[in-house]
Symmetry: C2
Subunit: 411 residues, 2 copies
């Protein structure tokens, strides 16, 4: 243990000062990736990290690194990160929390003039939300090798503008190769964006991994028919078949402890009050922390779809395998939480994060703090100052353990 601690008040002020950039009337933040406001948010971050003696490094995808040198030149940095961009009607904490916790760690080290063995870096990944430039997590995705640089820079917004052009426009297209930068460990503090920690009444969630996700487009074709003149036994009703599918999909998740299933999109044609529906298109989102179990869920979906009348045609459009975070980092976060007097709660992340792509290139971990009512991607997103400080303190202590560990483990 050491005598370094975060300043919860200072962190809280930084979070709220940052939230003024793109503040919405409803109390949220609209700082969408690669807009003028995103540039202002980045500028503010650069100003703050420069004040505490960090160098700033920007890669080809605009990923923005602040670096505080360590004592031993051959150690790879411990990297704390998340993202500064928000949803169009986002909150103050999704993404910003992780970057501001990183800033607070830098401030603590600077103030105490504490030199860690390994360098410390804080990163803000470009376009995590993907709200303007789908898909999400593009900056970390290119960094982690999931996407090519070309596809990342070529991502287009609804107006046809490319991400690469917007990076140049706001002055954050950097010279560094995206992905070439060494990472010793990666740790991402984040708000949970779900209701589990709040219900547990413990402030620190130790994220053991991220659920696997499978996405499907489903279409059901029946026969349009007159609602008045067509007897029930002569119908081929796409609406009825779709309703049964929605209920069966729900059961696929509820008969498992850790499964999740959602039908979020449901469109029917012709959408006429007195016409039996001719077709329904719907989306399916299946999630599970275990890859094999997720595959079972997928198979159950296919069987249910085939046995409907009329049958449903199912196309898988995306698969994101489950991630298990690095055991050492998970253990260090758990130790740091216990040492700070918190009972750590193991939790699997339901949402994707930049840490997913980082886990492909470095030992990676995450910690969560509670958010009010599990609400996120919403202007009403809210956390408590005490939880905010607790998450930062656990991050600081974990980073110190990793940066000063006696033996550097070869990766």
């Amino acid at each position: 243990m050491n005598d370094l601690h975060v300043d919860g008040e200072r962190l809280w002020r930084a979070l709220h000062q940052l939230a003024e950039i793109g503040a919405t009337e409803a109390g949220g933040v609209a700082r969408v990736a690669l807009t003028d406001l995103d540039k202002l948010g980045r500028d503010q971050f650069v100003e703050w990290v420069t004040e505490v003696g960090c160098s700033v490094h920007i890669d080809q995808m605009g990923n923005l690194f602040a670096r505080r040198e360590g004592a031993e030149a051959d150690r790879k940095p411990v990297v704390i990160g998340s993202h500064l961009d928000t949803q169009p009607t986002g909150g103050k904490f999704d993404g910003s929390y992780g970057v501001m916790v990183g800033l607070e760690v830098l401030r603590v080290l600077h103030e105490a003039d504490h030199r860690t063995l390994a360098p410390i870096e804080v990163v803000s990944w470009t376009n995590e939300e993907g709200a303007r430039f789908p898909p999400a997590m593009l900056g970390s995705g290119v960094f982690g090798g999931a996407f090519s640089l070309e596809s990342g820079l070529g991502a287009v917004d609804p107006d046809g503008t490319t991400l690469g052009d917007e990076l140049l426009r706001i002055g954050y297209s950097g010279p560094q190769l995206c992905g070439g930068r060494p990472v010793g460990y990666y740790i991402e503090p984040h708000i949970e964006q779900g209701p589990i920690l709040e219900a547990s009444e413990h402030p620190i969630g130790v994220v053991t991994g991220v659920q696997g996700i499978r996405w499907y487009d489903v279409s059901i074709n029946g026969t349009e028919a007159h609602a008045g003149t067509t007897p029930m036994d002569r119908r081929t009703d796409a609406m009825l078949s779709a309703a049964e599918l929605v209920m069966e999909i729900n059961k696929i998740a509820t008969r498992r402890a850790d499964g999740r299933s959602t039908v979020g999109v449901f469109n029917s044609t012709p959408g006429s009050r007195n016409t039996v529906a001719g077709s329904v298109n719907l989306s399916v989102d299946l999630r599970h922390p275990d890859a094999e179990e997720l595959l079972h869920m997928s198979n159950e979906l296919l069987v249910v779809a085939e046995n409907l009348s009329p049958a449903a045609s199912v196309e898988e459009i995306w698969y994101s395998p489950p991630i298990t975070f690095d055991e050492r980092i998970v253990a260090r976060i758990r130790e740091s939480a216990s040492a700070a007097g918190h009972q750590p709660v193991d939790i699997v992340s339901g949402a994707g994060h930049d840490a997913v792509y980082l886990s492909a290139v470095a030992p990676t971990g995450m910690l969560f703090i509670p958010c009010k009512d599990g609400l996120s991607h919403n202007e009403a997103e809210s956390i408590s100052q005490a939880h905010s400080a607790a998450g930062a303190e656990v991050t600081l202590q974990t980073v110190l353990l990793l940066a000063d560990e006696n033996t550097v483990v070869a990766h």
Copy 2:
């Protein structure tokens, strides 16, 4: 019996000549109410009935009557009718069949110089489809007293144009009071628009009545939540509740011999693949030939809606009570069908027709002929020439029975 018979070839030619007005590339007809094409269809009808010595009478709603005088001045006319307007992508026969059968009856009588005791009239009701000016059956509805003349003339299309202005524009705003015109009997030949007769392999359906209809708007409010981070047991999923409702609504009809239930409209928000649905709005259409049974169905809907989680809020927006057609006319149609060598099939109309509103002011009946695959409101709508002729022949003989009956029954 008499020696008068319809000319099936001539009727077939008239149907197809009329269908050229507004003919679509796909073989259907687009002759929407009070368009220039509707005017041309009316003009054609006026030309044809004038050729066979009829006078033409137009009322304030544009309902268009062709009158052939009878031998006895004090008899009220036997009226044959339907409508010349079509759906925007309609077929050749919905509505037009009844009016062209009426024309064929007039042609037979004219050719044979046969004078019936009662006058014979053929009417085309304005805006039966309601496709441009909702609600449907406005012309007959004002005539039958279901709607005020003001509401009929004030009906607006999506551009804000009123029905009254369009009647003036196409020259079919008549001087006669709408509803003041005497009707001795009303008979409406129509295509079934459903699959029952085709399956029975008999060409003549004797319509004993029209189902009652109840329409509802249903809304379900859940809570938007992240599909990844929200455990199944912490969701209030409007989509799931709506799916259960759709299935239960289906059962309300299928556990009865003659019930029908349809959910044709289903809209959910926010319509995002990875968000649990916050709300669903859907429509319900319940039908039954028996008013009491239809009320039971309605009550079952309310109970199911209340017991859902989240519950559904149900608002009834329309009730059209079941209609039982006049026993004498039903008997005459049955006799005429048998005399022509057909086995008449009793059938309840699933769809609304002008005859519903006429039944409030005069003894009314309908007869159906089969249509291919039960298809209607569709450019592919199709009937056979033989069935077309059979329905016309039964109409002619029924009209002669009613027009020449020895005792005029007081209404």
